[in-house]
């Protein structure tokens, strides 16, 4: 096992230990993660039912149930919040102990991210099951779409994490990033297909979204997993686009990190 993997697993064990200290907190975060897609499902399915052809953007009530059920899971697995978390560590000087260690701080913040996703499973899985039982989603998914969807979720998670972490590095210049964090999450919601399925977006906005990374983090894996991406060719192109974005963002991260860390002021002791 390589040293970085050993270090990452050690961080992950410790971070899971931290999360498990606060069972009430992880229950509340789990509920928070469910509320948003559940409300959006209720809104869009009601709108679709009121429509003449009982559907919007090619999704009827059962289609919206599947879309938001899967988006619930995809949103959980691909979530990232480093723009707040790392931004705070930089601003408060709490990055200092992490910088003194002979590994990049990103391994610790990544372990932090993953520990949340793992520990909250004990609460979110029953909630997902309850949601599915209540809304009866209708899937048109074949086995290859599940396989490709799994890959797309992994790439989407990597892309969102790296982009969010890289955006957080702006704290080395701007100090406080809370507002930028809100914009980032707004873009994820709107251009990532979380607020509405991509096909429901107005044409020009959809065209812009094609050239931005957000849809590849959330909407693309979701569409694959509910069977809306019918051709293998289209799925493969999507996975390639995700990979290109991921590689590009990793390069951007390395460049930004090497410049940003020189600006660190290590405030407060």
């Amino acid at each position: 096992m390589s040293r970085v993997v050993r270090v990452f697993l050690a961080y992950l064990r410790a971070k899971i230990g931290v999360m498990l200290q606060y069972r009430g907190e992880i229950l509340l975060w789990s509920i928070w993660g469910i509320i948003n897609p559940a409300v959006l499902y209720a809104m869009w399915s009601a709108a679709a039912s009121g429509n003449e052809n009982q559907s919007i953007a090619g999704l009827d009530r059962g289609g919206f149930a599947a879309y938001y059920f899967v988006m619930m899971i995809v949103g959980h697995l691909t979530g990232a919040w480093d723009v707040y978390h790392l931004g705070y560590l930089i601003r408060s000087g709490q990055l200092s102990p992490m910088l003194l260690r002979p590994v990049l701080p990103i391994w610790e913040t990544l372990a932090d991210n993953l520990s949340y996703k793992i520990t909250t499973l004990m609460f979110v899985v029953p909630m997902w099951a309850l949601f599915a039982w209540l809304v009866t989603p209708r899937f048109e998914t074949s086995l290859w779409q599940v396989g490709m969807g799994f890959i797309a979720v992994l790439l989407g998670a990597g892309l969102n994490y790296m982009l969010c972490h890289t955006a957080a590095l702006l704290a080395f210049w701007a100090t406080k990033l809370d507002a930028m964090g809100e914009i980032y999450f707004g873009l994820c919601m709107f251009l990532g297909g979380r607020f509405a399925p991509m096909n429901a977006l107005p044409g020009p906005i959809l065209a812009i979204a094609e050239y931005l990374p957000f849809r590849w983090m959330f909407a693309f894996p979701t569409e694959l997993l509910i069977g809306k991406i019918a051709s293998m060719n289209e799925a493969l192109i999507g996975v390639v686009i995700q990979s290109v974005w991921l590689v590009g963002v990793v390069i951007l991260y390395r460049l930004m990190w090497s410049v940003a860390v020189k600006r660190y002021t290590a405030v407060s002791g």
Partner: protein, 344 residues
Amino acid sequence: MSQIEINNLCKTFRVPEREGGFWAAVRSVFRRRFRDVRAVDDVSFQVDEGEIVGFLGPNGAGKTTTLKMLSGLLHPTAGEAKVLGHVPWRREAAYLRRISMLMGQRSQLHWDLPAIDSFLVHSAVYDIPADDYKKTLDELVQLLDLGDVLKKQVRSLSLGERMKCEICVSLLHRPAVLFLDEPTIGVDITMQTRIRQFIRNYNRKHGATIILTSHYMADVTALCKRLIVIDHGHILFDGSLEALSEKLAPFKVIKIDLDRELDGYDLATLGEVLSVEQRKIALRVPKADAAAVTSRLLTDLPILDLTIEDPPIEDVISRVFGQPKSEPKQPANASSAVSGGAAR
């Protein structure tokens, strides 16, 4: 052999500033003002292998900034430094694995976990072989008396317990160079003594090179043969404690205990009266005059006891910074002449 070499190191921070008050806050939205603060200005020194150096200065003198540059946390504005042959701010893993920086006000431990969990993470991060880790941990636990503390959540530890854990985690990978920034801050005197003893033992046993900053002079006198005094980013002094005392405080403190109280004897003619507490008197006299003054005191006064001491390090340092710490103490109604009894 030098393990730390610094040449003309400088660090300038650009800090925003404005006048106080609401309208100044509004104006600052449109017109932001910055000031360049030169925290470290042309600092050069070397530290040999196994040396313990006290790095002293008042708040804002540039001590911590220098240590942060040496540990790779900060990039300098100008100058060069090499520690263990590495340029610190390149932050190479091979360098970071051989140093440790203990910041009294900044924890390296996971707040919500027992300390032992942080130690385990540390062993993975520093790639410490399992046998070495166990051996070192057992040794540190014994020396720092950490047995009961290891399983407690860090957030519930007392400050002294936490500092012991911070020291333990800093030393688990056996660093060759240690930067200690206020290692005894906030802990009680007994714990301060234990921490000092431990640092001295670590230095002796492993030949570690240590730079220490502290506001407690007892830390410095107990551990450091060499002092570097810094103020406003400049080095004011680099040498031994004795040389500092010789150079900046060339006087002795003569303490006498009298058989009876004096009346009208003008002690101010002999030196500066530091304190008069009933029949105990302390005088500060130039070093060159110490013998003559002692002789005169023994001749003129009913002396029960007399000691000649070097001035306290606090006074010496205060003189360096031009801020006298211990002003001559006078009884509320007395001048330098002692009243009350008859002079012999």
